[in-house]
């Protein structure tokens, strides 16, 4: 990737005159300009993001950090400086750890099947289909369905007494599942909502990567006697490594911040009477807007931020290791 290096090295002697008759005048001044161009441009190009982030991302982050160090009522305003008391208090709350558990659980239940299913759907879409555009755009439709509709549909499906899923279960002779009372069941229902929205999108990302794998690798594998499944596991998946990492990172970061789906799961938006499905972002909301305790809410927000960074990093290392192993075989 050392483009700028090489250009710089060749600068003074660089072939400008003997290039098919192109005559570029190389003055010392423009050479200097060119060096400045090379040095400054990268920072210039990435600056829009950082400038915008400074205003709309960094400032809120620092503000939140400042708030977390005080007793701060959302309406009343800034109170006494209390240092890390808020953090200590929050870490001692069982509801905090409950929210952590819920968040991780919902995240695992949604991300892991998502990645696997997206890979499978992509494999199916990779075939030589008729009306390719229809199938591929079709799986993306859940992405545009309005949240209110999704909420209504899934509430109808997963209602405890009159929901469709329970009706079907009872028709088959099984016991109805208490989707809004049982902790794990609620996680499953919410994970289903999340997966529904993001599966098609991730599948198309994987499909793109799959399409880029050259066919001769497969031909060679076939000649070596590998069956379809073996080829999928030993050729396709390893070559998708960077994509899998990309998806793993983005879905980790997004998955740990899940807010909308669990909120619409019931009408109070608190996460269940026993906080069965209250995620960390919902806990932040409850502390900040429910109890008006801005200080504690900010403390939880910072803890969540640190947690996401940690888990995303772990996920990255893990995925890289797994994909690497596939490579070796």
């Amino acid at each position: 990737m050392a483009v700028t290096d090489r250009v710089r090295l060749q600068g003074p002697t660089g072939g400008s005159t003997d290039d098919g008759g192109r005559s570029v005048r190389r003055l010392a001044f423009s050479q200097r300009l060119s060096r400045w161009d090379v040095k400054i441009s990268p920072y210039l190009y990435i600056s829009p993001f950082f400038l915008l982030f400074a205003l709309t991302g960094l400032f809120p982050l620092l503000y939140t950090g400042w708030v977390s160090l005080h007793n701060w009522n959302l309406i009343g305003g800034q109170g006494k400086f209390v240092g890390f008391d808020n953090f200590g208090f929050v870490l001692g709350q069982p509801y905090f750890w409950n929210a952590v558990g819920n968040t991780v659980s919902i995240f695992l239940l949604s991300s892991v099947p998502q990645v696997v299913l997206a890979l499978l759907i992509a494999a199916v879409l990779d075939a030589n289909l008729r009306a390719r555009t229809f199938w591929r755009m079709g799986v993306l439709v859940p992405f545009v369905v309005a949240p209110v509709a999704v909420g209504l549909i899934f509430n109808n499906l997963f209602a405890d007494q009159f929901g469709l899923v329970n009706n079907v279960l009872q028709a088959v002779g099984l016991d109805p599942v208490r989707w809004h009372s049982d902790q794990l069941a609620s996680h499953l229902a919410i994970a289903t909502m999340v997966n529904f929205r993001w599966l098609g999108y991730n599948a198309l990302i994987f499909l793109a990567a799959m399409q880029a794998i050259p066919r001769d690798v497969y031909e060679a594998a076939t000649i070596d006697g590998a069956g379809r499944l073996r080829q999928f596991l030993s050729v396709t998946v390893p070559m998708l490594r960077p994509t899998v990492i990309f998806v793993a990172i983005t879905s980790t970061i997004g998955g740990l911040q899940i807010f909308d789906e669990p909120r619409v799961f019931d009408q109070s938006g608190l996460g269940g009477a026993d906080r069965q499905w209250q995620t960390l972002t919902m806990y932040i909301w409850e502390l900040g807007w429910g109890q008006r305790n801005f200080g504690r809410a900010s403390a939880v927000a910072w803890l969540l931020f640190l947690m996401i960074v940690l888990i995303a990093l772990t996920n990255f290392l893990l995925t890289r290791r797994i994909a690497n192993q596939g490579d070796r075989s």
Binding site: N155, D160, F162, D266
Partner: protein
């Protein structure tokens, strides 16, 4: 797009400030009739409401009566959204409308910060509202935070066809007599109903029964000095136990969580025979129970009277047109205007004069067997007594209590004792 508005707002506020300084604020808002102020600078007022206040036509009328005033109406769909919006803008220190509508439940908290709201006290509106309504919005210093708009006096709605199947009386007067005036008589009637083993439960949710009962206590969760007594107050524990006994031991509850999908479906499948209904709930019942025959309203409420819901109009101190906003708020909450809103959207007035108006008293409701709902709820409104003191943590503690009840009644994940322990832990963490 933004600049012209900014200029207009600047000039308008400058003008109003000048007028205010010259004694504009001395204008006592008249409760009726055109205000007829001429020579005033044009003013744009913003008013934020939620749900359905029935103000659309009234706003047009006010603008006709006061040509220099333009009103922008901001509507939030639900009370929760409105509350979040209000909170965010209070926290940010700007962005509130000139008039902000608030719910009675938020008062206990907002009264902690009377400096954020203009004192709307005014001799011209003295005695306009029912005692309990006005008192709820007044701080200890006499600072009146908001003008009352509507209220939610409760009666008992019942399904007469279910009553008939269980061998109970079905006409309104007999039902009122049977239900009695105390919670015990209400529960006894329930036991009789459930004893007939026709299938449905007596009431829909423990939560709504508790809410009504706790609102009739002298003291609930907090003392006037701000200390939290929820854990020690025997009245709270007693009410809790009583409600849950009735719900689970006597099986009077349909174990539904209000507003959930199951609750809505419960109307169609006729899962319960009665529900405590404020005036604004009638429309909801009618919608949810479309096609079901037999609903009626009894002119009685256990424990005397109950109120659920009701709003106020406040003028935040952020407003740049405080005098004008106060005037508009006073006009909108006048008995005549509230009656018009009532006719438009069914919001039940909280003004004393409105309760004796002909338009109100003659109102009937076809879905509820042509019950004279206007008369019924007017009487129920007068029967509401004082509500317990509500301190700054009332909202949060009440939520914790509702969750405790849901755990036992709906989720059945806890029994009464373990749920109470969790409630205590939640209160402690506040």
């Amino acid at each position: 797009m933004k600049f012209p508005r900014k200029l207009a707002a600047l000039s308008a506020s400058a003008a109003c400030l000048t007028l205010a300084l010259s004694g504009c604020g001395a204008d006592a808002p008249k409760s009726s009739g055109p205000s007829g102020e001429t020579g005033k600078e044009p003013v744009t007022l913003t008013i934020a409401t939620f749900n359905e206040f029935g103000y659309e036509d009234l706003i047009k009328e006010y603008q006709t009566l006061n040509p220099n005033v333009t009103i922008q109406h901001k509507k939030a769909a639900t009370t929760n959204e409105a509350r979040d919006n209000l909170t965010t803008r209070l926290a940010a220190g700007s962005g509130l409308s000139d008039i902000e509508a608030i719910e009675v439940d938020w008062l206990s908290e907002l009264k902690q910060y009377p400096d954020k709201f203009v004192d709307l006290k005014d001799p011209a509106v003295e005695g306009r509202w029912l005692d309990w309504k006005a008192k709820a919005a007044t701080t200890d210093d006499g600072h009146l935070i908001g003008y009352g708009t509507d209220s939610g006096p409760e009666a008992v709605c019942y399904n007469s066809s279910l009553f008939k199947a269980a061998g109970l009386p079905t006409d309104r007067e007999s039902v009122a007599k049977m239900l009695g005036t105390s919670w015990d008589s209400y529960f006894d009637a329930g036991k009789k109903f459930v004893g007939a083993k026709t299938g449905p439960a007596w009431f829909d949710s423990a939560g709504s029964v508790y809410q009504a009962m706790s609102n009739q206590l002298d003291k609930a969760y907090e003392n006037e000095d701000g200390s939290v007594i929820a854990a020690d107050n025997p009245a709270v524990k007693d009410t809790y136990t009583k409600v849950l006994d009735a719900s689970t031991k006597d099986n009077l509850s349909a174990h539904l969580s209000q507003w959930s999908n199951d609750w809505v479906a419960g109307f169609q499948s006729q899962k319960f025979a009665t529900t405590l209904c404020p005036g604004w709930m009638l429309g909801v019942i009618e919608g949810n129970a479309a096609g079901v025959k037999g609903w009626d309203v009894a002119n009685v409420f256990p424990g005397g009277g109950g109120n659920w819901g009701g709003s106020y109009l406040t003028v935040p101190t952020q407003s740049k047109h405080q005098a004008e906003a106060k005037k508009l708020a006073a006009w909108l909450t006048a008995p005549e205007q509230q009656i018009k809103a009532f006719t438009a959207k069914g919001t039940f007035p909280s003004q004393v004069q409105a309760l004796s108006s002909e338009a109100l008293l003659s109102q009937t409701n076809a879905f509820f067997n042509n019950a004279p709902t206007g008369k019924i709820f007017a009487e129920r409104a007068k029967a509401v007594g004082a509500s317990p003191f509500k301190g700054p943590k009332f909202f949060a503690i009440n939520d914790a209590m509702q969750q405790a009840l849901t755990r036992v009644d709906v989720d059945k994940s806890d029994d009464a004792a373990s749920s109470w322990t969790k409630f205590l832990a939640a209160v402690k963490s506040l």
